[in-house]
């Protein structure tokens, strides 16, 4: 009904994103940041820290969020901006995660998506990998996996320089 009303939809998206921003600013979650770009409220940049006890420990990953006009009824488009070696992320940063596709629900928000991605780092879904080699190494050769992760990773400063 109101989905057809593009103008109304846009104001609703903006209103909801403002509230999410307020939420994140007032109740920050450790290891997670998110902030909209200066000119467009529907494009956000976020960072997550690799969870401890995983090959990604102490690494920081940058992500980009792009919210459609139908948000929160359709999922945001999320990409890893930092190169990451992971079974469910391809080399251009695209993520294979069900809640960002068909299992999306309107009650998810930026915080919950970032938390899900954080846990995905420690528990990859190896049954449907985008990166087959990574899935195999995760199961069989953790040392080599860690080496590959470290080799591929870039700090945010390096990213900005590039």
């Amino acid at each position: 009904m109101a989905l057809s009303n593009a103008n109304n939809g846009a104001t609703n998206v903006a209103a909801r994103l403002q509230k999410e921003l307020m939420d994140i600013m007032t109740n920050p979650t450790p290891g997670i940041t998110a902030f909209p770009s200066s000119e467009n409220l529907t494009i956000w940049t976020a960072t997550i820290e690799g969870p401890s006890g995983t090959p990604y420990e102490a690494l920081v990953f940058k992500l980009s969020f792009e919210f459609p006009a139908t948000y929160p009824y359709s999922p945001p488009n999320v990409l890893f901006k930092t190169p990451i070696y992971h079974p469910n992320v391809d080399f251009s940063g695209r993520i294979c995660l069900d809640i960002l596709k068909d299992k999306w629900s309107a009650v998810y928000n930026i915080g919950t998506v970032l938390l899900s991605l954080q846990s995905l780092l420690g528990e990859p879904n190896n049954s449907s990998p985008l990166n087959g080699e990574a899935a195999e190494l995760w199961d069989n050769d953790m040392l080599e996996y860690k080496r590959k992760v470290a080799a591929r990773h870039k700090t945010p400063e390096e990213l900005d320089a590039a």
């Binding site: 009904m1 109101a2 209103a15 909801r16 009824y73 309107a106 009650v107």
Partner: protein, 519 residues
């Protein structure tokens, strides 16, 4: 910002309805006259002019009701009252079987993406039957939501109203002067604050005379009040800094140094000084104290005179109509000063119009709605004293209409009386019929008794003496019945005698015919 009374938009239908009521009540006030004044519009015309399609009618004012999802709350709402989908306090919440709450609209949007029959709860993914599993939320939740304090959605335009959420709809739709309405100009598709509606279309570009910035006319005032760099000036009289916008009002009403006359000037007080001095003068000036009363009286006199003028015109019209009716009713009458009587009831008395009889005829006739007209006011002309022929015709038409309605009433009354008479008459007929029926019935009973007595007698007498005894019994039966005064049964008895002389089977036949006759 809440005013005690709703601000009706300039073309609100309520306003026009009120005025039409006033018109109709005026009509009712004249109801004792024949029809109404000839020149006044009929109730039908009034209704037509107030209808939607009238050319006076403007397009309706469409206001956008406030979107509850976009309201700004004065305090951070309880997180338990916040919808997980829109992240604002619930709007028309519903409850799912799994005890999760959502705004109805949010839930509908979330389900729009899902296939029918596969709708799930957005929180727990449990399956939901859309037709059955939507439940109303507890009353207390709705009350808590209604009590949340919100700001007016027009707060950015300057409205500083804030109150419970339950009232925001009424505030925006009825009271808030900042609510956007359609521009009053027909060829303008833009919107404008309700407070500026009466100023006409303000959607044209102007240039601020102080800073030469271009803007729309509707934004000019706000610009000159808050934004314009050259918005302030110094009053030449009191050297206080005032907004250019308010300068005129300042000089006229507030500036203490402006030279003004005493307020008693209308009553010839000649004192003139600076405002501050005048104020102290007016404390003692008798004339200044009287001035408000004087002005009030003056205004009242003017109002009365304004009211008097249409009234006198109406009286003129009515007098004309009256004299016309008089001349119409008594065209051959040489003395038009006779009081009017009912047009349908001209009595022989009027044919002889000596003046001393007028009082008697007046008394005898039904109450006369017309005041008697002095003789010198009725011109003796064949031409009716009307502005136009149409007025004359209208008056005639109205009097005829009155007569017709009187005839209709009389007819109805007559009809009712006739009906009553017929009913009474038929009632009497029915009663008589009942009596007759009862009499016939009693006779039939007697006859039956006689017949059975005859039959038993004949059976007892045996076959040899059957004929003789039957004839005797029948004869005695007929005699019996005759003595009881029923002449009809005597004939029947004779027939029974005749049939008794025939064979037995034949008697049965006659018996049945007799039954038919009785019935």
């Amino acid at each position: 910002m809440s005013s005690p009374e709703p601000i009706p938009p300039p073309n609100d239908r309520r306003g026009s309805r009120a005025s039409s009521n006033a018109d109709i009540s005026v009509q009712d006030g004249n109801g004792v006259m024949v029809g109404g004044p000839p020149g006044s519009p009929s109730p039908l015309q009034i209704r037509a002019s107030n209808s939607l399609n009238s050319k006076n009618r403007r397009r309706p004012i469409a206001k956008q009701p406030p979107d509850v999802h976009l309201l700004e709350y004065c305090h951070t709402p309880d997180s338990n009252l916040v919808c997980l989908i829109c992240h604002s306090p619930f709007d028309k919440p519903v409850k799912l079987l799994c005890d999760h709450y959502f705004c109805r609209q949010c839930l509908e949007h979330a389900w729009a993406a899902q296939q029918d029959g596969e709708k799930t709860c957005p929180t727990c993914r449990s399956k939901v039957d859309v037709d059955k599993d939507l439940r109303p939320v507890p009353r207390i939740i709705e009350t808590m939501l209604d009590e949340l304090v919100v700001k007016c959605p027009n707060s950015k335009s300057g409205c500083d109203w804030s109150d419970q959420r339950a009232n925001v709809h009424d505030h925006v739709m009825l009271y808030c002067v900042y609510t956007l309405v359609q521009c009053p100009s027909y060829d303008c598709r833009l919107h404008i604050s309700q407070k500026d509606f009466h100023k006409g279309c303000l959607h044209y570009t102007v240039s601020c005379e102080n800073c030469h910035t271009s803007m729309m006319m509707k934004d000019l005032e706000g610009h000159q009040r808050t934004d314009c760099p050259g918005r302030s000036t110094n009053c030449p009289h009191c050297s206080a800094e005032v907004l250019r916008l308010d300068f005129q009002a300042h000089v006229k009403e507030a500036c203490p140094k402006v030279v003004i006359p005493c307020s008693g000037a209308v009553l010839s007080c000649t004192f003139t000084a600076e405002r501050a001095e005048v104020a102290s003068h007016q404390e003692t000036c008798v004339v200044a104290k009287l001035a408000p009363h004087f002005q009030e009286q003056q205004a009242r006199i003017e109002r009365s005179e304004a009211r008097l003028e249409p009234l006198s015109r109406r009286v003129g019209i009515l007098e004309d109509g009256l004299s016309n009716i008089t001349s119409m009713l008594y065209p051959a009458n040489s003395e038009p000063s006779l009081p009017l009587s009912e047009p349908l009831d001209p009595t022989s008395l009027e044919a002889f119009p000596p003046a001393h009889l007028t009082a008697a005829s007046d008394f005898r006739l039904s109450p006369n709605p017309f005041p008697s007209v002095p003789q010198n006011d009725v011109p003796q002309t064949t031409q009716p004293p009307f502005d136009s022929q149409i007025h004359h015709l209208l008056t005639m038409h109205d009097s005829l209409r009155e007569e017709v309605s009187r005839i209709t009433n009389a007819l109805g009354e007559l009809d009712g009386r006739t009906n009553m008479m017929i009913i009474n008459e038929s009632q009497r007929q029915k009663d008589e019929m009942l009596h007759t029926n009862a009499a016939i019935n009693s006779m039939r009973m007697q006859l039956h008794w006689l017949m059975s007595a005859t039959l038993s007698n004949r059976n007892a007498a045996g076959s040899s003496t059957a004929r003789a005894s039957a004839s005797t019994a029948a004869a005695s039966g007929s005699a019996n019945s005759a003595t009881r005064g029923a002449s009809a049964s005597a004939g029947l008895g004779n027939r029974a005698t005749a049939s008794a002389t025939l064979h037995a089977p034949l008697r049965r036949l006659s018996d049945s015919t007799r039954q038919d006759t009785k019935l």
